[in-house]
């Protein structure tokens, strides 16, 4: 096997990988290698043809492909080496990658690695819907790719299970293309997608959203012929007498995204059971020194801008590590408290300002997000609206951290 040596290797050419490679290069890493298994850069943005990308970073709303192109243009002529159609097969804890392309297998020894492998969709198996196994059951992201990239249609009459953002975006997309969207069913008592997508994608087209409702049966032998919907009670059981048949030829699943971390697992990186992404510090360094992570591989993002920003920091940290061989070690553990599902980063050094991102467990109105060390409140911010679908970002200045204490708790409070 041929061996190459690089300073920073970035895995994945989506918005996170693009930002990480750019900032690694700008921070002084000489040999930066960006590896993408697809035939083009941009990742999931290539199929997200709707607009609303970049408002935080660029003050303007772009479509997914346009947002990606801005970063691809910035990358050209920087000297970052891009390998497309190349898959990273393996990485090891001593920062060696095995990559595979039409040139065969190559071993890459990297000073530092940034994992930006994005996420994948949960499938029918992952949520165990009973019934037959006919054709016509798809995940929403697959349909998005079929329609927006490959020019394939999937059916005429569609039910969408799950109010995740891709499902909502696809409800509108299908309607615009003349496909009938019967309804969206959501098992939770509140929507799991963003308010914006409920308004723009459902309300604009009068598509009904049934909450506390799920698909309890799928009918059809060769092709989906219909599904049975039922109301779900507070304890998770089917509410008697609420079963009803809905005729359709297609069922779309939009039941969540999971960070893609097969490579991280192979390297022995510690993953969080809550986010399914690596445990990281404020440099986005994982449990293995010199391996960093950003974007949807770390946590599922609703805003690409934040995926780019966090990966920019990961890229900068990687360049620094490749040069210096180490980074300041974190001494303060960050713990999710009352009402908080997770907080990233999981540990901080307290020497630099930190942009925290977090999600709440359930919808709340007019509460505070409070950062506490011991009994002392180090940061507090009022939140008018809190929803699990919307990631919260808060910056804490370095002078607020009490470095003598070894933990910090974030909670929802009055």
């Amino acid at each position: 096997m041929r061996t190459e040596q690089v300073d920073v290797a970035v895995v994945g050419g989506g918005p996170a990988g693009l930002a990480a490679a750019l900032s690694a290069k700008e921070s002084g890493a000489e040999h930066v290698l960006l590896i993408e298994r697809g035939e083009r850069m941009g990742g999931i943005l290539n199929q997200c043809i709707h607009d609303g990308f970049g408002t935080k970073l660029m003050g303007e709303a772009f479509t997914g492909p346009e947002y990606a192109q801005i970063f691809i243009n910035r990358l050209t002529n920087t000297g970052v080496n891009v390998k497309l159609d190349t898959m990273v097969m393996d990485i090891s804890s001593d920062r060696e990658l095995v990559i595979c392309s039409s040139d065969g297998l190559i071993r890459v020894k990297a000073g530092a690695i940034v994992l930006c492998t994005g996420c994948r969709e949960r499938t029918r198996g992952a949520i165990r819907i009973p019934g037959t196994r006919p054709a016509g059951v798809f995940t929403a992201g697959v349909v998005q790719e079929y329609m927006n990239i490959r020019n394939l249609s999937v059916g005429r009459k569609v039910v969408i299970l799950g109010s995740g953002d891709i499902g909502l975006i696809m409800a509108r997309r299908l309607t615009l293309e003349g496909v009938e969207v019967e309804c969206v069913a959501e098992i939770l008592p509140y929507p799991s997608g963003l308010a914006r997508n409920i308004v723009q994608c459902l309300e604009d087209f009068e598509i009904p959203l049934y909450l506390s409702t799920t698909v309890v049966d799928i009918h059809g032998i060769d092709r989906v012929e219909g599904i049975t919907l039922a109301k779900i009670g507070p304890r998770g059981g089917i509410v008697r007498g609420t079963k009803r048949f809905v005729k359709c030829d297609t069922l779309l699943l939009s039941v969540g995204l999971i960070p893609e971390n097969e490579l991280a697992k192979k390297a022995g990186i510690k993953l969080s059971p809550v986010t399914a992404g690596p445990i990281v510090d404020d440099h986005f360094q994982t449990s293995i020194p010199g391996i960093f992570c950003g974007g949807n591989a770390l946590q599922v993002h609703d805003l690409v801008d934040y995926a780019s920003m966090e990966s920019e920091k990961a890229g900068r940290s990687a360049a620094f590590f490749a040069g210096a061989g180490k980074l300041p070690s974190p001494s303060i553990k960050v713990l999710p408290g009352q009402g908080i599902r997770y907080v990233i980063p999981h540990e901080v050094s307290g020497n630099e300002p930190v942009d925290f991102s977090m999600r709440v467990k359930s919808p709340e109105a007019d509460r505070y997000i409070v950062f506490k060390q011991g009994e002392k409140v180090i940061r507090r911010m009022r939140q008018i609206e809190l929803a699990p679908a919307a990631m919260i970002r808060m910056r804490v200045r370095s002078d607020r951290f009490q470095r003598s204490l070894d933990s910090l708790t974030v909670e929802v409070a009055d």
């Binding site: 043809i49 303007e60 772009f62 927006n148 914006r196």
Partner: protein, 119 residues
């Protein structure tokens, strides 16, 4: 004067805006996280508009489709008519993001432009 809550849908942040307006104009907005809300909320009250995004087939390109959008938001009631217009449009020759695919769609004064490349 009228008051109400309107979700800003320009980006995924989905700010729930407190708006006040009279018969003629938007008077104030509160809770917006950025300046893009003003124009959107004002339109949403007096003349709702949407950016239409879709795809059109390419003639020769490596990719069977290019993605397109209305270069500006267009009146909401025209969204489906614009889709009908675009249903029969094919992009000629190689296309680059930014190229005009349909000029002045349905007399709105707004162009349909490509948002991706055909090759």
């Amino acid at each position: 004067m009228n008051e109400g809550n309107i979700v800003c849908t320009v980006c995924p942040t989905s700010c729930l805006i407190d708006a006040k307006w009279d018969e003629k104009e938007l008077i104030s907005i509160d809770r917006a996280q950025c300046k893009l809300a003003w124009g959107y909320i004002s339109d949403e009250i007096f003349d709702p508009k949407r950016v239409v995004t879709t795809t059109v087939p390419t003639e020769t390109g490596k990719n069977p489709l290019v993605s397109v959008k209305t270069a500006e938001p267009v009146p909401k009631h025209l969204v489906l008519d614009i889709m009908d217009t675009l249903a029969v449009v094919q992009a000629k020759g190689p296309v680059n993001a930014g190229d005009v695919i349909v000029a002045d769609v349905l007399g709105t004064g707004v162009n349909i432009i490509a948002t991706s490349n055909s090759d």
